[in-house]
């Protein structure tokens, strides 16, 4: 009994709105044992965050737990008084939220916030602040904050995002809670930071036997850290079981589609599954199975209300008529494995059409974009040396006609600036960019405008880059007005919409009426309007649900082969580039550290940074689960204002040596067009262990400058 930390049974949550009641959660049941990490996965709108809020009874004012029980040990959270609730929060269940940048109060020092969280609980001696402070310092040290005794008096904005998330974790651990809830706790972080935080969670579980509810839309991350998982859809748990079971033999058609829509390097050339339609709105749930409208195995019986219930077999739960022996679902056409029905992967789609790759279209030579601090009167008077942010610092890159190049790096690596500079949206401070043989850096604004018809950008935030007061139709013709294109050369709005697989009715909608995926498509259509040859896409799948992201990627691929487009895809998502890009360029602190054909770079990573990044990637692979990262990168990317001398990566590189790495490395040709900027790549490829033994440990600095 004491083994079960949390038992949730038949939980219903209802939101009361003007038009009636919305069932946000319906009959959700699961249990969590001591020391277990349970994953909750699902797309947005499936009730994940409602679930985590319900555990703490922190639902918004119009939300109500309308049925079921939440047993914490042997106490029911549902019947707790306000006072008991307050004491329970933070002490028994502690929560870590998604956005570390806004989770801490900006006007109080982190130390005082940690201490206040402890003082809120009656079993803590609130008067002894010296002792509480000491406890806070110890906890900050535990979660990996260097110089905690000093930094406890910093304000939140003086820390980077990764550090702030560590501080949040420290806050969560201060009162030794039985249960941690991590609500998308690593989603806002870069892969390397995500790997660090996941490692920290794993350590906590090992050393403190902490139980965790790990909520995420990223099935890769879930599969890496959790032992069991619950798949949510439209407010219900539709499948539940061990990660190994669910990932290797997914049974619910939704889980299968979800898994088949995750891009990764192993799926190159395959098409990703896309789920038609959207998660149904809570006010318009279909009768019968919630997934029936999007399911490719749907039969009339699925749409009848009442027939559906959870089917349990040996610890694996699935809520689907196909797997229910008592139902009248006709399974004769469906494959069987022993006595079990196998639904199989979503339809195998045709292979990618081959694309022709031609001559060099875009060329960057020694490209440099430095952002100087604006000189102030005072700085002039004091004759101070001004620092410059070296966002892009000497980049050579060729992009061939018809090619898809992935530009990858952590945030702060300068990848977006490079993308913008290549389009002439950012004035380079040095070097040059040419497009189809014409030097962009020598052009005046009018010539640049002329040329820009042939190269377009898809910006990162799809909604924010559409004017909220214009209809989609107007947004799509805007490029024509800007470039004064005569009517006969324009592509009609319905045709543009069709190119991005949107219905012609969408032309009359305003941006806020569009879903994330639709807004992204409108952005793509806007970019296509001028019939460009080259498109820079900044994080094309960011902020989209897995299935929406998959369909955007498929669309981009199709357009590339139909229209012969050339792409530069700027992203931090290694799964995405591994799947879609022909070549990949890896950026670190304003310089390229590795460039090469994607298969080569992924199969034989040579640069230490590439090796660590690829090691940090989470993919939903049932056999790789809970394997710790071996090549975890220490610390965070240094400030581009003051990059380390020599090889910029040496402060985080496990192989760095004092005798060679303080020199700037050139991009060196290895095999098969794979270029690597590292002095030691030969030794590392030959014998990584020996190369690591030969390293000079004093070069690695764990010290991180506060961002200021």
């Amino acid at each position: 009994m004491s083994d079960r930390v949390l038992v949730v049974e038949d939980l219903d949550v209802t939101y009361h709105v003007r038009s009636g009641s919305l069932p946000a959660l319906r009959g959700v049941s699961f249990e969590l044992r001591r020391g277990e990490i349970l994953g909750i996965v699902g797309e947005s709108g499936c009730g994940k965050s409602t679930l985590s809020a319900a555990m703490l009874r922190l639902l918004p004012a119009n939300g109500e737990i309308s049925g079921g029980t939440i047993l914490l040990g042997n106490r029911d959270v549902r019947t707790m008084s306000q006072r008991e609730l307050r004491e329970m929060r933070g002490r028994d269940i502690a929560m870590i939220f998604q956005d570390p940048l806004t989770s801490l109060n900006p006007t109080f020092k982190v130390g005082s916030q940690l201490i206040a969280a402890m003082q809120a609980h009656p079993d803590v001696d609130a008067s002894d602040t010296g002792k509480l402070r000491q406890r806070a310092i110890e906890m900050l040290t535990t979660v990996g904050l260097p110089d905690a005794h000093e930094r406890i008096d910093y304000f939140p904005h003086q820390f980077s995002g990764g550090m702030r998330q560590r501080i949040m974790i420290a806050m969560a651990l201060l009162l030794k809670p039985e249960l941690l809830i991590a609500d998308e706790a690593t989603s806002a972080l870069d892969v390397t930071l995500q790997a660090q935080i996941l490692e920290l969670f794993r350590e906590l579980r090992r050393e403190r036997n902490t139980s965790m509810l790990f909520i995420s839309h990223d099935i890769g991350v879930i599969s890496e850290i959790c032992y069991r998982l619950v798949v949510m859809y439209a407010g219900r748990a539709v499948e539940q079981g061990t990660v190994r079971e669910v990932l290797s033999k997914p049974r619910h058609p939704y889980t299968q589609a979800l898994l088949a829509s995750v891009p990764s390097k192993d799926r190159r050339g395959e098409r990703l599954a896309t789920i038609p339609g959207r998660v149904p709105s809570l006010s318009e749930l279909p009768p019968g199975c919630d997934f029936s409208d999007r399911c490719r195995h749907v039969q009339p019986v699925c749409r009848e209300p009442g027939g559906l219930h959870d089917v349990h077999t040996a610890g694996h739960m699935v809520r689907c008529l196909i797997h229910d022996p008592a139902s009248t679902y006709e399974t004769s056409g469906i494959e069987r494995e022993g006595d079990r029905v196998v639904v199989g992967r979503p339809e195998a789609a045709p292979e990618d059409r081959p694309r022709a790759i031609g001559d060099v279209l875009v060329q960057a030579r020694d490209l440099e974009v430095h952002f100087a601090d604006r000189p102030t009167l005072a700085s002039r008077l004091m004759r101070r040396q001004l620092g410059a942010v070296r966002a892009v610092d000497g980049v050579d890159l060729d992009i061939r006609r018809g090619e898809i190049v992935g530009l990858v790096g952590e945030s702060g690596s300068g990848k977006t600036t490079l993308g913008r500079a290549i389009l002439g949206l950012e004035r380079p401070t040095g070097g040059q960019v040419s497009f189809d043989g014409q030097d962009l850096t020598a052009m005046n604004p009018r010539q640049l405008l002329q040329l820009r018809r042939r190269m377009q950008m898809i910006f990162q935030d799809a909604h924010a880059s559409l004017s909220p007061r214009r209809r989609v139709g107007q947004l799509l013709t805007e490029p024509y007005t800007i470039h004064r294109i005569p009517d006969e050369e324009r592509i009609a709005v319905p045709e543009l919409l069709e190119m991005v697989q949107l219905a012609p009715e969408q032309a009359t909608k305003y941006p806020h009426e569009l879903s994330g995926g639709q807004a992204r498509r409108v952005n793509i259509a806007r970019a296509l309007a001028l019939r460009p040859e080259f498109i820079v896409a900044d994080e094309p799948s960011a902020g989209l649900d897995v299935s929406a992201a998959a369909s955007v990627l498929e669309l981009m691929k199709d357009l590339a082969s139909e229209l012969g487009l050339t792409y530069l895809i700027v992203t931090h998502d290694l799964n995405l580039v591994g799947y879609i890009a022909d070549r990949i360029a890896l950026m670190y602190l304003g310089t390229l550290v590795a460039v090469g054909p994607t298969p080569q770079v992924y199969e034989r990573p040579m640069h230490p940074y590439t090796r660590s990044l690829l090691d940090a990637v989470s993919t939903p692979d049932p056999d790789q689960t809970t394997a710790p990262h071996k090549l975890l990168l220490p610390g965070e990317i240094p400030s581009p204002k003051n990059p380390p001398p020599g090889c910029r990566f040496h402060t985080r590189c496990r192989y760095a040596r004092i005798d060679s790495c303080l020199e700037v490395p050139e991009l060196d040709h290895t095999a098969n067009g794979h270029l690597v900027a590292c002095h030691l790549w030969r030794e590392i490829v030959e014998d990584p262990a020996a190369a690591e033994r030969a390293a000079s440990p004093e070069l690695i600095s764990d010290q991180q400058e506060p961002i200021s």
Binding site: G90, F97, T102, S103, P106, A116, F155, M168, A378, S379
Partner: protein, 317 residues
């Protein structure tokens, strides 16, 4: 911080110099002879000539402007045409009354407006919120001179409490304060409404933010969350407009001083305009400008003190 202070002080000085320049030029750009303007059409030739010499009006304009500014910077603002008293002495006499009035109203506006706003924000859309919102909007719309007349009617005339006009004597603080209550309230009322609206809006924004949700999730008391965590963030925008509001209050003080017959800067300026007494006018306008820039400087600095993000940004540059 020191560097920022230096920069801000430099800017303040620049503003003051510009105001001085403007004041120096004004008598010369008004059409007609400045002396005739000053003395009016019925002045005798001899008197005009005398004043011309006194004012140095026959010197080249640039010299005049220069000498006015130079003298002003040394603290010499000339003499009153009518009484021949040094303008600085008159300002010194009037200043305390205006300062007392402006700060008393500002204090009232802050002390009433902020709790009002917080109260409204604790239960949005409740009866209490609706009530405070109606009250604050009506406060904003009532001009200070209308409120002044109303207050005059209500308290001294109908109820027979509180003095109607004058300032009382500074040597009797209690009586001085009693004289201050009505004018300060009349002047403050608009700003009570403004602060209430502003604080309510920023409070609601802050209460919806992530860190407040985090504070709840860690069992902090609602009282602590509201009055410690949220309020500190919510007053930042209000502090930013404190400087502006003080300027507005000084402007409004002109009416109020007239109505309540208080010998402050506003009344001094008004009388000087009526009498075309340029030195006094210059002096009082300069004084108001000085008060205004000082208030803005103080508001800016306290803003920085409240919001650590801005503090460090400055450190970095």
């Amino acid at each position: 911080m020191a560097q920022y202070l230096l920069k801000r002080l430099g800017m303040t000085l620049a503003v003051v110099l510009l105001v001085l320049l403007f004041l120096a030029v004004v008598p010369h750009v008004i059409p007609g002879d400045p002396v005739e303007n000053i003395l009016g059409p019925r002045a005798t030739e001899a008197r005009i000539e005398q004043v011309r010499v006194e004012m140095g009006i026959d010197d080249p304009i640039v010299t005049q402007i220069g000498s006015f500014m130079w003298n002003a910077l040394q603290g010499d603002l000339g003499r009153d045409f009518a009484t021949n008293r040094p303008v600085t002495a008159m300002l010194a006499q009037a200043l305390p009354h205006t300062v007392a009035l402006a700060f008393a109203s500002l204090g009232l506006a802050v002390l009433l407006g902020i709790p009002f706003g917080v109260l409204a924000a604790t239960k949005p859309d409740s009866m209490l919120d609706r009530f405070t919102s109606v009250v604050s909007v009506s406060f904003i719309t009532v001009p200070s001179y209308v409120m002044a007349l109303f207050l005059l009617l209500l308290f001294p005339i109908w109820l027979g409490v509180l003095p109607a006009t004058g300032t009382g004597s500074l040597s009797e603080p209690l009586s001085y304060l009693r004289h201050l209550i009505l004018p300060a309230s009349a002047l403050a009322i608009t700003w009570v409404g403004y602060f209430a609206r502003l604080v309510r809006a920023s409070m609601l924004e802050v209460v919806g933010s992530n860190y407040i949700r985090v504070a709840r999730a860690y069992g902090l008391r609602e009282r602590v969350i509201h009055y410690r965590y949220a309020l500190k963030n919510a007053v930042i925008p209000s502090v930013a407009i404190l400087g502006v509001s003080l300027g507005q209050l000084l402007g409004g003080a002109v009416f109020i001083e007239l109505i309540f017959n208080r010998p402050g800067l506003g009344k001094l300026a008004l009388d000087a305009i009526a009498a075309r007494n340029y030195p006094v006018l210059r002096g009082s306008v300069l004084m108001v400008a000085l008060l205004f820039v000082t208030a803005n400087l103080v508001a800016d600095l306290s803003y920085r003190f409240l919001d650590p993000r801005i503090r460090v940004e400055e450190k970095a540059t």
